[in-house]
Symmetry: C2
Subunit: 593 residues, 2 copies
């Protein structure tokens, strides 16, 4: 193999064009493809930036041509040569460098390569496990490189924007204390403090509040957070947040700042000009119209509440649900009256997965409302529904009748399923929506107590403070979430900065004084030592980038993601450790060896 | 207490000056100081940016003045008022806002404060523990805020510089696999993989090499790293690195890029214009002249090797050391002949801490070489030493005689101690020095094998490859460290990119094929799938910022540092956890409860 020596690149593989004709250049990269044609060897040389065709012609240099005969896929080369225009019929308009080629006079083989376990130049289905095991090959694929480049640009744009807006990036500890924020902590045993454990942060929430008490005024951080949850398709044990906190601000300030940041991110990463301000919707309206607090507003099919209209109606199933305090809501799936029996059976089965005990439907035909249940409704009830649902011939009405929670969830999922089936969604549109006026707490029937909808440090609305003890369920918080295309990409709130209010909220959440002191003593102490009004927000970088890049999975925007079993097939982490290491940590095994 | 409402700041507390006279402004911040004078209340209002004097005059607004009577230190205020020029004799030229004051017409008390446990407006000695326990107060002190602001600027400058130079910031995992790099790992038990553990990274070394194999070409990351070591004064369990790696480069490329980055950092953080290129010195020369591979070159007092000159000399102690293969080196402490007996005893005791069995010295007087040992040397030996040491009347010669390792360490430390005692060091000078040509390996007499001086992935010099098996101790590596004022602030190397060489180096390090496969199998596999030539470097952000800010401790440049027992007095991390959490992690306690 050859050494690099003093050889220096003059250009990358996406740079040369007709302006460079006749220049002597040095390129370095990987053999993507080799074609031999009429005794001449053509190599597509690839680097992070692109592809350039390099040519080995025996008539130019027989020795170099002979050496080039050894070249195989993924070998690493440095070549010196002259830029020439390709013959007109050989131009490749798909490549930025497609008008030229480099006629090689000097070839250095910097490394060879075994045959890769999967080809990189084709759209081949490769198992996720193999992709992760050979991640360094997987990342050579242009779409993966593009994702990481876009991620870099997006995060860098956010950092620059926030820096220009007087934010300081301040690092908070990774080895910290477990705070109860809903999910399970990753623990790190302390060697020098036997029986004690650090927790990896689920978020830097309390540290950023401390920074506000410290007078830092505007903090941000791009920060790793951790949750030891059972992984669903799009969860990772570690994930990255753009986290921020501001002092002396209201919701409007934070929303304004973050809209500006999101706009910068989209411009830098995709060249897309967003036009803030984004739309807003209250939590109550979102639940009413879409059945979820993160509605995808790129298509219609909204939920229509028929409860009051059908109270005491002829169809007993609905009537009884309503009588028991439940609700009846419906979606008008415009133009879907052509759905087959099988389609409807599939949708019913789908609805069942989300708790529906069945699914009533009506096909609106020119001459009749086709359905097993039409006969139970009076003329008047039909007319009422027609008006409420804007039902026209060709439509399909799908009903949910159950408790409000079940109906909302089922119809919200059905709505998304219909959009997928009907391909209603424009993949290139980005619909942003702020959700505001969340409830402060919700009642957990399992634990028989109120839990925080966001977290215990979220401020209640000032004008709802009077209801805090008497009707906590009616208190709205000062929280806001940002939803993009039906995904929650960020969320935050104005925080409690007064000790008396924080103590009252702890009480409402069933956290007594002793527990509050134990877990949050330092927060309470900080609140009585000059805490300013403050609030913040955090954005999930992985999910945002998944949407920005149009990827199917957050794994495609993370360089070294974990599998669903939280393992890394490349390094084989997690791995067994020596017994001595455990002993040093004052731990003994409790597993079958 | 008052609410913020729709009130909005117009300026920060370091912004107003004579240009703003008669403007109505809104300021927010903390009460730093209160003075009552002739019925008028003067408050120094402080925020992150600075201080502005706000004035409550009963003749302007009696009600507001009355309210202001309640104000105490560290209360949080919003004030509306008019900018006025201070009376000429009341101007404060030390403050940027010292020419003006704000006559308040509207006062909002946003929060009160208990009396802080230590005052913030004076240079009071506060115990480290108390400072960390109330870190949010400690950080309100202007010098601490200044440090965090400088840190933000420094890191942001590095990021922008690297981005402009085509680097991509790519995140590597925090939950990773233990790699043997010298220090103890922090371990994270896996819940879903019983008996298996993640390690927190000591560095992203192998991941960044994987990114080079992946063709990312230029990677960087500002990244948390972890070492579970017993903490010395200036170590933290978690620390931050600016980490980078480049493909298709030599040492010169990396040195050039990083010199540019350091220059940007100094400009952004301190307004200091550095003038790269920095000085360079080989490892051998540094050890010879300074006894250390991180010499502080801001002052002289270099080590002079007298071994050959004193071989067989009249002073038996030296003669015997030399005969046994040891060395004799000396420092000429210019002008220190006035040191007292006690000074010399102190220095001897100091030298003893680093392994010296004693310390010979000679005071050069006008008329004699004053010392218990002078009498043992011949006239000729004295003359030789005089010349070698450039000894003149008034000088003090300090000797080290022992194995080369001990002598170098003792004299290197003595040299620093002399500089401290004599205050030789200009606190405002920044001396950068590259150390190059390190040995690849050193022999560990305890473990009876060669260990890597940097790490096992460091490339040997091409022209030394022949010596790898026969005389590994003579092989120089392609590593380089950057030293600033005697501190190693960065280090890196060109890496091995060929599998055959990596395997040979593993052999030299006593890592057999099975162990290599087990621990580094994925690296070896990657090296045979098209690994480009590559290399990199990493900088310690905490230490660099300590030097940049002129702080005494790295704790002063970290928002929430740990104590020497690796605890956080603010949050009381690490903390006990519920037994259930341990059980979930398949662990049992092995500590006394």
């Amino acid at each position: 193999m050859d050494t690099l020596g003093a050889l220096s690149r003059t250009h990358n593989c996406n740079e040369l064009g007709p302006d460079n004709l006749d220049q002597e250049v040095v390129l370095m990269g990987w053999v993507l493809r080799r074609r031999d044609h009429g005794g001449v060897i053509f190599i597509d040389l690839r680097d992070r930036w692109g592809i350039t065709q390099v040519v080995f012609n025996p008539e130019v240099n027989a020795e170099v041509h002979a050496k080039a005969h050894r070249l195989r896929s993924e070998w690493v080369l440095a070549v010196r040569g002259r830029v020439e225009r390709r013959p007109a019929d050989m131009e490749n308009p798909k490549l930025k460098t497609g008008a030229i080629e480099v006629l090689v006079s000097e070839l250095h083989i910097l490394n060879t390569s075994e045959t890769p376990p999967f080809p990189l130049d084709e759209e081949v289905e490769v198992s996720d496990n193999l992709r992760l095991q050979y991640r360094y090959l997987d990342l050579r694929r242009p779409e993966m490189a593009r994702n990481l480049i876009m991620r870099h640009k997006a995060v860098q744009a956010a950092r620059n924007y926030l820096s220009e807006n007087d934010f300081l990036e301040i690092e908070t500890p990774m080895l910290t204390r477990s705070t109860p924020e809903g999910a399970r902590d990753y623990l790190v045993p302390s060697r020098v403090n036997p029986g004690r454990f650090y927790a990896l942060p689920q978020s830097p929430q309390l540290f950023k509040q401390m920074l506000m008490v410290a007078g830092m005024d505007r903090y941000f951080q791009v920060v790793k957070c951790f949750r030891d949850e059972d992984l669903r398709a799009d969860r990772q044990p570690e994930f990255t947040q753009i986290d921020m906190e501001l002092s002396f601000v209201t919701e409007e300030d934070i929303i304004g700042i973050t809209e500006g940041m999101i706009a910068e991110i989209f411009k830098a990463a995709r060249g897309i000009e967003l036009r803030p301000p984004f739309a807003r919707m209250t939590y109550d309206e979102a639940m009413e119209r879409f059945g979820t607090d993160r509605p995808d507003t790129r298509f219609g099919f909204e939920l229509i509440d028929l409860t009051e209209k059908l109270r005491g109606c002829g169809f007993k199933v609905f009537g009884q649900v309503i009588e028991k305090g439940g609700v009846v809501k419906a979606i008008n799936a415009k133009g879907c009256a052509t759905f087959s029996r099988k389609d409807l059976d599939d949708l019913t089965e789908f609805a069942g997965r989300f708790g529906a005990k069945g699914m009533a439907w009506i096909k609106i035909k020119e001459d009749e409302w086709q359905s097993p249940i039409t006969k139970f409704f009076s003329e008047e009830e039909i007319a009422t529904m027609r008006e409420a649902l804007d039902a026209e011939p060709g439509d399909l009405i799908l009903f949910g009748a159950d408790s409000r929670g079940v109906v909302n969830q089922v119809l919200a999922e059905l709505r998304l399923e219909l959009a997928r089936r009907l391909e209603l969604i424009d993949g290139e549109s980005f619909d942003f929506l702020w959700i505001t006026d969340f409830p402060l707490v919700e009642y957990d029937h399992g634990e028989k107590r109120h839990t925080a909808v966001h977290h215990p440090f979220t401020a209640p609305r000032e004008d709802h403070l009077d209801l805090l003890e008497s009707e906590p369920g009616k208190v709205k918080s000062r929280a806001y979430d940002l939803v993009l295309n039906g995904n929650e990409i960020g969320g935050g709130s104005i925080r409690i900065h007064r000790k008396d209010i924080q103590e009252r909220v702890f009480q409402v959440l069933g956290i007594d004084q002793q527990e509050a002191e134990e877990k949050f003593g330092f927060l309470l102490r900080a609140l009585e030592l000059g805490a300013p009004p403050h609030g913040g927000i955090a954005f999930g970088v992985d999910r945002l980038l998944m949407i920005l890049t149009g990827s199917d999975s957050i794994r495609d925007v993370i360089a070294f993601p974990k599998t669903q079993k939280a393992t890394c097939p490349l390094t084989e982490a997690p791995a067994p450790v020596a017994r001595k290491q455990l002993t040093e940590l004052h731990l003994r095994p409790d597993w079958k060896e």
